[in-house]
Amino acid sequence: MLDMYLFENSQLLEQLQDRVLKLKDAESFDDDSINEIFRAIHTIKGSSGVMMFDEITAVAHKLEDVFYYLRESKPTNVPHLELVELVLGVTDFISGEMDKLSEGAAADGDAHELIGKIDDYLRKIKESENEAGKVIADNVYEEPTQFYIAPLASSFTHYYKVYITYKDSTEHVNIRAFKAVRALKDVAEDMLYYPEDILSGKEAVTEDIRENGFKILIQTDKAEDELKKLIGTDTDIQNIDVYECNYAEFNLGFVSDTSQILIDLDSSVEEIIERSGKQETPGAKYVPEVENIVPGDFVVKEKGHGKVTLARDRKSEARRSSYISVEVSKLDRLMELIDKLVAKDESEEALELQRAVKAMRVVPLTSTFQKMNRIVFDISRKLGKDVGFEMIGDTTEIDKNIVEHISDPLMHIVRNAVDHGIETPAERKMAGKTERGKITLSAGADSGEVWIKVSDNGRGLDRNVILARAREQGFIDDPVKPDDAYNDKEVFGLITRPGFSTSENVTEYSGRGVGMDVVMQNIGDLGGTLEIESTKGFGTVFTMKFKKL
């Protein structure tokens, strides 16, 4: 439930932020945008109210007040950029709180100050609008009548299902199973295992473990690997699988496992009939003693009491049917297995399989690019520069691992571009350029490669300055080799060397020593390369290239 809340609201926040950033340079928000922003923030307020996240609810309500006023009385004197900043302030606050929640912490942020700011802002536009004397109804906050309290998430507790299978040659598998239980006992906060009576010595129990493996449910603060290590010293063990599960699954015990219907595809019908006849003789096979499921116990599975599904439900059902979300760890595991397979078997089918799985791991760069839009906005405002932002090819897909780690280096390059690349409006005017600078973020795929480019139309890199600095700081050992003998690639490559800096003064955003060398390192770690091209006076282009999987 909390997952759903976080998922839906983070999408709404993203939409909200995009909309606002798209219109940051407009005179004001148009009616459509006001309505859309109002609706989004209203939805966030509603669900946060039900979840009892009071601060989020209060901030959302306050911002809703503003957009309610804009919608109802259509004031003319609305400081636009200030409003853009307030909305972004709100989305930042809520995102921050949601991050805490998703990590199992409490949403304990204080929105007091932010609410005060929004209040002041609303008062200001209301006052300047007062001459008409229009009276509009207040936007009253109605407390929801139903609440949801998320279960306590002790951030360190995990629930796991552990499956152990033993080699056929293993003797006394029940004793081996017991050893596994003992190994885990010390780290377990709670533990269940199946079959239960491993020490009874019943032949049927031993048979069951041999055939179906030994199963353990464990609640612990340890990681998967540690569990494996604790169990895994035994050479009789064929395989250990550890899957993380949630509390509800843990609580269900082994019910779902033991009620599983296994379909025997190998035996003939006659064989199956004969076997099932045999099984009826008492004691021939170990029959697990599972607690009976009481009628009504799983009423959860019924659609329930003749209720009609709401249109909203249907929509979310539809969405879920076309997408299923899979834990990344499961995909990683699949990847791992397929890599092993390919190592042994390089047939066309195996390679095809590998490609298909890799294709499942790619995601579009869109949200990463949108983050950069925000950064350009923030920094250019702080530095008093006028910078436009353009995205091209943001739907280009790239491996999830790269998307996750590309943000930092990309952010660094974008920051540098705004800070050092783009000139102040006055400087630009002097140079005969448009006062507004521009950062373009583009991506695309060529044969075998995915590239991401950050281009600016700023002052560009100065070869001579870089070379002079490099000589000063001892990056060039050869004092006689003339400047002309170094090509552009070599010269611009110098700025990615550890410790190299050309910036005269240190600003808040860049030039603090953590520089291009770290960016280079990050990109290298992801298996990518970085190229720099620049023309003095016209701008710089940073191109990252990654091998397509």
Binding site: Q146, Y148, I149, P151, L152, G296, V300
Partner: protein, 131 residues
């Protein structure tokens, strides 16, 4: 305040009883059927409960059946929604589907287990059951 708890699991029951005892007198039942009986009895004796806490997975009648049973009894007796008893579902089932069904059936608070005691108390405050 008078509290009715329906919880079939012994350990959880003991824990919940201790926890709820802080806020009022707590009666205990072990399944949904008993909970409905207790709820009706209290109405008839004119000493209605202020709060009902229901587990969902329970024998005989589950928490959902108990919840809709109680709301139906209230409807029959002409008790309007505002004056109906506050019902908290306390359960390990945390699927969106489960929560929605409980809300549709008229539960007031849906609280996932393990119970977050601070927020549970915050919820009781919101409902005006404690100060």
């Amino acid at each position: 305040m008078r509290i009715l708890l329906a919880e079939d699991d012994f350990v959880t029951r003991k824990f919940m009883m201790n926890f709820l005892a802080k806020y009022g007198d707590c009666d205990v039942t072990v399944d949904g059927m008993e909970a409905i009986d207790a709820f009706m009895m209290a109405l008839e004796e004119d000493e209605p409960y202020d709060l009902v806490v229901l587990d969902i997975m329970m024998p005989v009648m589950d928490g959902y059946q108990a919840l809709s049973g109680i709301r139906n009894i209230e409807k029959e007796r002409g008790i309007d929604k505002e004056h109906g008893v506050k019902i908290i579902m306390a359960t390990a089932l945390n699927d969106e589907k489960n929560v929605k069904m409980a809300f549709d059936l008229g539960c007031t608070v849906y609280s996932g287990k393990p119970i977050d005691q601070d927020r549970f108390e915050q919820g009781l405050k919101k409902l005006g059951l404690i100060k």
